[in-house]
Symmetry: C2
Subunit: 350 residues, 2 copies
């Protein structure tokens, strides 16, 4: 079968390989891949800055944002031939930490997890993959290729889940307004969940054109180009920071309202030293009961929430998140950045 592989740590090593069919020990469910999404982590892996091959191997099959159709499944495993499925990314260590032991591998406290397509386990960017039923989600068949958005949606489903749980430290928690910084797929899916929860949605990104502003407006949200005006007339109860850009992170912390919550969901790259008055920030956080938390990855419960989010979303809106579909044979084009890109996917059906 065809598989997109890389030698982790070596830039320029990515190539379309002909590999043996997936090994039976990767799981009893056999899936034919429909599409694999490309995200910043994939770019890092392909550029040699991230990723780990399976133990004893040189190369890693990449791809962690998947959607496929079941070709074969054991009886009574909850999945049947023809089901549309998405694979969960992370797996707990055989000797799990207390979080992993409870199925909360997204909260892994010892770092000994593995991840399909990223860390020590082959990913989903191959014509077929195998998977354990406990790590495969059956999704609404009407989603089709849009199911490739489930993995990024699971990440923001977790972020929102934790926003709500942290918010419930107060019995009077009832958020009305959310500000999302960054209008990439993660930010737009975070905005979608905010809209589905009935919040007033604001999204800020640096672009002034392209599909993002209209995608926000079509959610009923307000788009802010480049920066927020200093005299914004809304007080966000929730800020979901999806850029990782240090200046935006600091702006988010400073715009947090009393008893508000900032979720940090964007991973910073590089070094950005900033002169900061930690005393002023600390005092304001204390006196205003501010909460800030980081959120990464997702466990099965979050995938299930995300599946409901996608199932009830407008399919046309979702389809516009997928700005380019690249045939596997042209995989390298998926790693070129185009100005109007939102989510680029490798389409295995083309």
């Amino acid at each position: 079968m065809r598989a997109l592989t890389v030698m982790p740590g070596r830039a320029g090593s990515a190539r379309l390989d002909e590999t043996p069919d997936p090994a039976a020990d990767e799981g009893p469910v056999l899936v034919r891949t429909l599409a694999v999404g490309i995200c910043g982590t994939d770019v890092e892996i392909v550029s040699g800055r991230y990723g780990w091959a399976p133990p004893g191997q040189d190369r890693l099959i990449i791809g962690h944002e998947s959607v496929g159709r079941v070709e074969d499944a054991p009886a009574n495993c909850g999945l049947s031939t023809g089901d549309l499925v998405v694979g969960i990314v992370r797996r707990p260590d055989p000797v799990p930490c207390r979080y992993c032991a409870a199925g909360e591998w997204d909260m892994c406290a010892n770092g000994r997890y593995s991840e399909r397509g990223i860390k020590e386990l082959n990913g989903y960017a191959s014509d077929r993959f195998r998977i354990e039923p406990a790590f495969a989600l059956r999704i609404d068949p009407s989603l089709g290729l849009l199911g490739v958005l489930l993995e990024p949606a699971s990440v923001v489903a977790k972020a929102w889940d934790h926003v709500e749980r942290i918010g419930s430290r107060s019995g009077a928690w009832a958020p009305r307004t959310v500000l999302v910084t960054g209008a990439g797929p993660i930010g737009l899916l975070a905005a979608l969940i905010g809209q589905q929860r009935g919040l007033e949605v604001h999204v800020m990104d640096r672009v002034t054109s392209g599909p993002k502003p209209q995608l926000v407006r079509d959610l009923g949200g307000t788009y802010h180009a480049g920066h927020l005006p200093d005299d914004i007339d809304f007080a966000p109860d929730v800020i979901i920071e999806c850029t990782g850009a240090p200046s935006v992170v600091l702006d988010a912390l400073n715009r947090n309202t009393p008893s508000g919550i900032v979720c940090l969901a964007g991973i910073s790259s590089g070094q950005h030293r900033i002169h900061l008055d930690v005393g002023v920030l600390n005092k304001s956080m204390v006196l205003e009961n501010d909460a800030v938390f980081g959120s990464v990855n997702a466990n099965r419960r979050h995938y299930e929430i995300a599946a409901e989010v996608l199932a009830k979303a407008d399919k046309d809106w979702l389809s516009r998140l997928i700005s380019r579909r690249v045939p596997l044979t042209h995989w390298a084009e998926a790693f070129d950045r185009h100005p109007d890109d939102v989510k680029v996917v490798l389409d295995f059906t083309l």
Copy 2:
């Protein structure tokens, strides 16, 4: 009656006044004051840097850490003559925010609260005070003057309450170790609650002598003088930061463990600009699911938790928190800082 008053905003204006008895509109319950604790906020008020007099008045009776005995109370109000009581500090605005409306004035989102002894309401540092039954806590009679520790204990009871509620974003949350930075009354009471909850307790403060190290050890905790060694052999699930010192705040953020929680409970003073890599801090918070929150004040539920904490604490240990008892006539001595001070109280019975 005697009352310790100040003209807010004017340093050197504090004096022991002879004032009329408390006005009936301050509440139907009349209390004879046993003691009033002095904290950093009182020092700020007396030095002219904080505080607001009641509307239309020049002077404010200070004192917000109270304990007294009921002299008169309406029938069926829940309090009776002779009861040992403590007054709650904060009052919601007559037009409350949604938090204040739910009795969570500690989370006030519009800043229009008032506070006995601090903001627009006379405090408790007078021979008698009046109070509304809903804002008075009856406490274990065996506490006596130690009841003056209830207000600071309520502040850390809230901090712990929010630690637990934020922790419950994960079903596997089961903290084992707490690090408290700062061994003043707030830090030591935070350590006490940690110990009562069965956690391994570590406390760090800059002092190397005086009562604080032994107070920590007598809780069964470990005292770290000056700083934490870089090779600490414990991973705190919870850090309660009680110093407000920017370098300690940053150290707390950096020592947070994956899925750990940092509670900021110390108010910084002055300006402390620090060169900081916000990108590195953000990335670590995201990838480790770190949570950081500020906590201030307390609502009635937290006072009730604190009353249980004090009732089951070792009374000898609690009494050692009160390092000096100053007669009201010598009130100025309570504002002098002695090296071995933990909590200094104005004792109205001397």
